[in-house]
Amino acid sequence: MQDRGGVPTSEPIDRTEHELDDWELLTDALVGALGAGGIMNVDELRRGIESMPRDEYERAAYYERWLFSIETNLIEKGILAPGELEARL
């Protein structure tokens, strides 16, 4: 469902400018740092995003998808236990 080229849509292109919120910058930085540390690469990030249920993918904000993917990947790699992040909130 990430394969969007040519997908029919009636949604307008919203051209409102958004400065990134702190948490969005942080999420981006976490991916960058995980990449630099050889823990998770960009292809794994994308694949993790693609594993989202379709309706969640379409509803989620951009960096929410990244957070989903980071968590998915880190659980797969045994770095996070399932539910460990949830317990922290």
Partner: protein, 92 residues
Amino acid sequence: MRFALGQQVRVSDRPHAGHCRTPGYVKGKTGTVERVHGSFTNPETRAYGADGLPEQPLYGVVFAQRDVWPVYAGPAGDRVVVDVYEHWLEKA
């Protein structure tokens, strides 16, 4: 490198499970190699934690928009260029 600049190539429309960077809208379509980008790690394997080796040649393939879309509203000269890995291309 299997393909050369200016060569006509067809994008495979074989089914694929898992991470793929060949967009569906060019699968089965024929275009022309207009750039040979060199070789890069294979995202399809790297996406599952492998090293992505051996590197795969990557080509910039240009398509006529009218060949890609069943109904394309623009002129015949319009083009779309997609970067496609060698293992997704066949001689046309």
